[in-house]
């Protein structure tokens, strides 16, 4: 992963000269001039948004199952995840390194913090999604001869998929926005475009990096959201077959 410092801002003076310009051409030429760097940041932003959700899902599945299986686990687990989700993102970014003994500006703190958020959100989603599986369905599956483990993966989990994907959509769209916040404390991602735009706008407004950052963030959020929707459709063919 390359850091922000590895890039010299190319031809800063040229940008400042055309600073007042907010014509489409200025945006286009800004992107052309900084293409490699912007795409690097976009890539960093993408994996920072996606990987923590995957980690969160992997952790949340067994935890959510536990909370569903043993009802005394549910209240404390929901309290813990609720408190975790209450801590503001920027506080979590700052607090994780000392708690885990990392370097204060370790690039790991962002994925760790976001994984914690995603897990906190998804544990509840998985538990409540499993709770929404009709009792008759579970009984029918048992009667056909499904053993508990098989029944969980082939019957209960698939039926909980719509609720879980609803949670995934929230987690992933929220992540795209939170990752940009990490840019303000110097982490490599699209948030650096806002940082650069803010710093270049000291005298006169210079929009290209800011607008480019917003557009890329929104596009990324919409794209990832659409991907989860497509995944949901692919995993639940029976919902279309019934024609609801």
């Amino acid at each position: 992963m390359s850091t922000a410092a590895a890039y010299a801002v190319p031809d800063l003076a040229a940008h400042v000269v055309q600073a007042a310009s907010s014509s489409p051409w200025a945006f286009f030429s800004y992107f052309l001039d900084n293409r490699a760097r912007t795409l690097d940041w976009l890539w960093a932003h993408t994996w920072l948004s996606v990987v923590p959700v995957l980690v969160g899902l992997v952790l949340a599945l067994p935890l959510g199952w536990l909370a569903r299986r043993y009802s005394f686990v549910y209240p404390p687990m929901m309290s813990i995840t609720g408190v975790l989700y209450t801590v503001p993102s920027i506080a979590l970014f700052v607090l994780i390194p000392p708690l885990l003994g990392l370097d204060p500006l370790s690039p790991l703190q962002v994925p760790i913090a976001l994984s914690l958020y995603s897990t906190a959100l998804l544990v509840r989603v998985v538990a409540d999604g499993l709770a929404a599986v009709p009792q008759e369905t579970i009984q029918a599956a048992t009667a056909i001869g499904f053993r508990p483990v098989n029944r969980f993966f082939k019957v209960e989990l698939p039926i909980a998929v719509p609720v879980i994907t609803a949670g995934l959509r929230v987690a992933i769209v929220a992540n795209v926005s939170i990752v940009a916040v990490a840019g303000t404390i110097g982490m490599t991602n699209l948030g650096l475009l806002f940082d650069e735009g803010f710093k270049l706008s000291v005298d006169t407004p210079y929009y290209p990096p800011i607008v480019l950052g917003i557009v890329l963030c929104v596009l990324l959020a919409l794209l990832l959201d659409a991907f989860v929707v497509a995944l949901d459709r692919a995993l639940t063919p029976w919902r279309r077959a019934v024609g609801r």
Binding site: V83, Y85, T86, V87, P88, S89, I90, A91, L92, F93, V94, L95, P98, P104, Y117, L121, R124, V125, D128, G129, A131, A132, P134, V163, A166, G167, V170, V173, A174, V176, S177, I178, A180, V181, G183, T184, I185, G186, L190, G191, L193, F194, G197, F198, S201, T204, P205, Y206, Y207, I210, V211, G213, I214, C217, V218, A221, L222, D225
Partner: protein, 259 residues
């Protein structure tokens, strides 16, 4: 590092304001001030609109539009607004930074408040609503005396997540030169004074947790006991099925946007 942070936090000099530095108390008050303004405005906009949309079933597209706003990166919009608005103010005023910050915070707080008010009214069982009309209540009375109290748990969950998001995001106001608790995080970062930075993080986290706890208490004593199940044992009625819970969960999830 933990000991240094404790030392920074317990140093009385960091709590008082001096001629050169603003202390923790004043930054805390500034932080709460930014949040309070934004929340009052957001409730004034979001709550009546959401209730009206839910009650009348009109303009439901507005809920979709408002929810789409969540995909905007908060920092980016804040920086853009600052760059556009700040140059219009001169002299010793921070209005050029305060106005963009409040706009962003309101933009952030309206979606959960509005969509949860809407969903809360939508989730009122039709039988309950019909019974109220049957008793001769007018539309306005049904909204105020039946739909609003029934929607209160969801409205609260929307307001709580709006509050938490606003507290979290008011931190970024310090990134665009305003005060607030984020000051310690960004100053600590710039000065490589990590105990200060970590203390800032702790203070923000503590503010968020305390506020959420207070709101949970308010919710406990304002939501009708018929809805929360906190009734004397004899009068307890089972109302919630698993299906209605997952429907409510989806709405609640949507309100838990960015932190």
């Amino acid at each position: 590092m933990i000991g240094d942070t404790f030392g920074w936090l317990t140093d009385a000099a960091h709590w008082r304001s001096t001629n050169f530095d603003t202390g923790i108390w004043d930054q805390l008050l500034a932080h709460i001030g930014f949040c309070a303004i934004a929340l009052v405005v957001a409730v004034a906009i979001g709550l009546p609109l959401g209730l009206w949309i839910g009650h009348s079933g009109k303009a439901t597209w507005l809920v979709t539009v408002v929810n789409a706003v969540r995909a905007l990166p908060t920092v980016g919009v804040l920086v853009l607004l600052v760059v556009v608005i700040a140059p219009n103010f001169y002299g010793r005023t921070n209005a050029g930074y305060l106005i963009p910050t409040e706009i962003v915070l309101v933009l952030l707080a309206v979606p959960p408040i509005l969509s949860n008010a809407y969903a809360g009214v939508q989730n009122v069982p039709p039988a309950v609503r019909d019974a109220a009309f049957g008793m001769g209540m007018t539309g306005r009375q049904v909204l105020a005396r039946v739909e609003l109290p029934n929607a209160l748990p969801l409205i609260f969950s929307g307001f709580r997540s709006a509050t938490l998001q606003v507290i979290a995001t008011a931190t970024i106001a310090s990134y665009v030169t305003l005060g607030g608790l984020g000051r310690f995080i960004y100053d600590g970062l710039a000065q490589q004074d990590y105990p200060q930075m970590i203390s800032g993080g702790l203070l923000v986290a503590a503010l968020a947790l305390t506020t959420d706890l207070l709101l949970a208490l308010v919710q406990r004593y304002t939501v009708s006991r018929g809805l929360t199940g906190r009734l004397p044992r004899a009068g307890r009625v089972r109302t919630e099925g698993a299906d209605s819970r997952s429907a409510v969960l989806t709405e609640e999830l949507a309100s838990e946007g960015a932190r």
